[in-house]
Symmetry: C2
Subunit: 328 residues, 2 copies
């Protein structure tokens, strides 16, 4: 066994608004963490320098040097080429085109680095330590601005022949349906993302339908997930209708994924699910399980809610690094 045989791993969650870094034991215990705002308008060099500082801060808090760790994993927004650690582009970060994030961090910190897409990494965290612990095959569904997805098959991220697997937001659920942000029609994202949900709410409000949401929007007129939950709890019929429709489509999406992949568990996560779980999940579960063709009738596909919350990213990144670099 090498000198680093018991060394911890470092996990980093690079988000559009904040950077979270943590030193994490091999069993998934968070030994220390550090947080910084993301300088998202200042280009990749500044962001990467900030990631390095945040990692150093987390390492100091755990009383190690960064290069005492056995490796580092980082989840990045956007499109990531996993084999090379290059972020091809990231719409939420200014000037992020073809950024060799893995190589830059590795040089700055003296560590092997693995880079993954943020949804892939969060799903890997749930697989290793959360709602999918003990399973070998997991699908992750994260409804947000779009609908993020990830697949883990036989304990490995399935990224596909061209890195385009798990683009579940663009599975067609309603042929020739509403136009999607991608220009196609009837994609899951056009029906069941936060964007679709807000589109439907605002259309109804423009036509004068009554809703307590009018009083719950924030100063910029945004409808936050917490406001949706408050409106639903107040039995607001418009919000309930739109949440149930969203859940119906998310259930069909989960059923279709189950019928193609048949994973042990499908995990739903993200802010919308966390805030509105009690209105979304019963419909999602019923619809998905009704649509799942289980010819051997062994058991129903499990439909779970993510359990790691804000820590899914750092935990998943560290576990992905461990799975990638722990060969002896």
């Amino acid at each position: 066994m090498s000198k680093k045989g018991k060394a911890p791993y470092i996990g980093v969650d690079l988000g559009g608004t904040k950077i979270l870094a943590a030193v994490i034991s091999r069993k998934g215990k968070i030994l220390s963490e550090a947080k910084s705002p993301t300088p998202d308008r200042e280009g990749p060099e500044v962001v990467i320098a900030r990631v390095v500082e945040t990692v150093q801060q987390a390492a100091r808090a755990a009383e190690i040097d960064p290069d005492d760790a056995a490796g580092l994993g980082i989840g990045s927004p956007g499109v990531v080429e996993a084999a090379t650690g290059v972020v091809r582009f990231a719409p939420n970060l200014l000037h992020w085109d073809e950024v060799p994030l893995g190589r830059k961090l590795s040089e700055a910190l003296g560590l092997p680095v693995v880079v993954g897409n943020d949804v892939d990494v969060a799903t890997f965290g749930e697989y290793a330590l959360g709602a999918g612990a003990g399973c070998h095959s997991v699908a992750g569904i994260f409804p947000g601005t779009g609908i993020g997805g990830a697949l883990i098959l036989n304990g490995k991220l399935h990224t596909g022949a061209r890195g385009s697997a798990a683009e579940i937001g663009h599975i067609t659920l309603l042929a020739d349906g509403p136009v999607c942000g991608c220009g196609r029609r009837g994609c899951a994202e056009a029906l069941a993302s936060r964007t679709a949900l807000e589109r439907d709410l605002r259309a109804a409000m423009r036509f004068g339908r009554r809703t307590v949401l009018t009083d719950l929007m924030d100063a910029e007129g945004r409808i936050r997930s917490g406001a949706l939950a408050k409106a639903a709890a107040a039995n607001d019929l418009l919000v309930l209708e739109v949440l149930y429709r969203t859940a119906h489509y998310l259930g069909l999406l989960a059923g279709s994924i189950a019928n193609l992949i048949d994973p042990e568990v499908i995990i739903f996560g993200g802010g919308l699910i966390e805030a509105c779980e009690e209105w979304l999940m019963p419909t999602i579960r019923a619809t998905a399980q009704q649509h799942f063709i289980n010819r051997l009738d062994i058991e129903k596909v499990r439909i779970e809610v993510a359990t790691l919350g804000d820590h899914a990213g750092v935990l998943g990144a560290a576990m992905l690094a461990q799975a990638t670099f722990n060969n002896g």
Copy 2:
């Protein structure tokens, strides 16, 4: 290397109407073959005895004993439990419930036997020797009475956590659309199977739409794939409309599969595709490639037609046996 290190494999295609057996070299050359009608109304014992006879006949033609072969693969209709070789049920064969096909054949012939679902086996044949040769990840789509599907990932059949993977006929393409044979709504099968296609044609004919099909149906009033091709070639507008609609939905199905799995190639096969390729495939290809989200922009997903025809079953079964039993 064992005595059987260069021995051929035996492939069997058990269909609802005929049994095909062949002795096949390790490189996929058909050394001999034999064919019998399936005694489909006489129960599993009689069918299995007929399979054994057909295998013996093929072996004699290749001048070997069956147990000189290194192993046998068989593709069966219905739901197959791959791990045990049990056919759970097969709607096209009378009294086939929980039939231990693998064990029975192994005992009768003195050979290791692997059993697969017919679509899985045909797709494995295309992967090993046909339209998917040289690829590691393949999806197969076979529109027929239903829509059969199969997935090969990293060179292995992906059957899922409960044996329910690749049930692509029941991916939702049109939420809340037409009722499917499974009782759900808007499944791919309810939109793009031969059954759906015939439903639409007959509905139009009942309402008096003109079509040359009226003169092309067989004595029992069935619409065969050859009749569809003849009508399309005669520029029959009803048949062309229905074929194009079928192709549109098959293209959306292929696009959704590509967006979830990102395989190297998607292979379409079966009698309908073979007969009507020139009217179906251009629309399927255009729609699928338009719907495929290829963020790394490496290449388009390949959409191909199966090339092994009636031999896909025996070739796939023999290659599956080789992949299963060839460990030294």
